[in-house]
Subunit: 220 residues, 2 copies
Amino acid sequence: MAKTRSFQLSAAPATVLAHLLVIAVATLVLVWLLKFQDGVALSSHNKQKIFNLHPLLMVIGFILVGGEAIMVYKTIPAKREVQKTIHMILHLIALLLGSLGVYAVFKFHNELHIPNLYTLHSWLGITTISLFGLQWLAAFFSFVFPKANNYARDSYYPWHIFVGSVVFFLAICTAEAGLAERFIFLKLQHGRQALIMNFTGLLIFLFAVSVGLSVILPRG
Amino acid sequence: MAKTRSFQLSAAPATVLAHLLVIAVATLVLVWLLKFQDGVALSSHNKQKIFNLHPLLMVIGFILVGGEAIMVYKTIPAKREVQKTIHMILHLIALLLGSLGVYAVFKFHNELHIPNLYTLHSWLGITTISLFGLQWLAAFFSFVFPKANNYARDSYYPWHIFVGSVVFFLAICTAEAGLAERFIFLKLQHGRQALIMNFTGLLIFLFAVSVGLSVILPRG
């Protein structure tokens, strides 16, 4: 590809936009769950509070923290080894918070005797968190301990990036499907809660785009 | 990046998988709409038939044809100029079928006095088709007629690919959200129709991944 065929833009504006979207999405989710819904709790007589932990942890814990983990190589001005460690730790935090979020929705279903795993959202979501966990383990064994040989690491590297992108993309699809089905379950149509949920979905998509852009654009 | 850090795989298996998924997704959508729903029609006393045109045209016309358009550079063994022309024509077909699909759902809503554009699915969808139309026009004016100068074309080229990927990704998110909300509207839970809709969503995602893979992998 000719050198003129470049984006002629550095990653900096994309990462700034992504950070701003983290604040915006986290705010919208908190306002939705704390002001328009009944709040959150891991155990309560009000079972909706248990459900509400699910979108809270999946959006803020899994997607936003996971997106920040992806951008580490563009946002943290440190040595490569330090960036890799932060990338790994942030992804581990995302995995743990995401797993707790999945646990919360199973707990909610079980306590109300609602069946699990019958919607497209749940199929996509269980695939996302499983692949995410496998990818984290494969990367840990290959890049950290016990570490694969150079050839195997180099062969895995592009697939690590590709599978990571696919899982992130799948997480976004899952969130959009989840918000869409929750909206119908709540029988919303117009009003402030409907707008807050739809803007959450829209800004989650924009966050994913800005994360993707920050990955493909060169450092400043 | 070192040369060893390559995928060590050509695009051919990804394109074959994508073609197989086109057949699988089209079959599932047709079985769903013709066998488990009332079929399709552009005008009918049975308004569900008008609605059913929407998923039919959006999935088969917009997403599957659009995905094939993206893969043309890997699947059609012809000169670059021929590939570009087929890419453009397939995207125009996708745009026209997609627009007809959007028209069908507005017609359905209007005939039943259901409000338009209040769900996340509709917000994502109207954004998708608008960006898709703008991207098609921008590419036509830049690359076909009247054609921008070399420098402008080279500057636009990476953004054409990036925006195209974003719009395709957004189309997939929209489809997943649409299937998820339709599933709840139809009050499905278990049974064959539920499985068919969920597998449609899952295979649409796999189709998108195989299209993405066929783009980044080198020709055989």
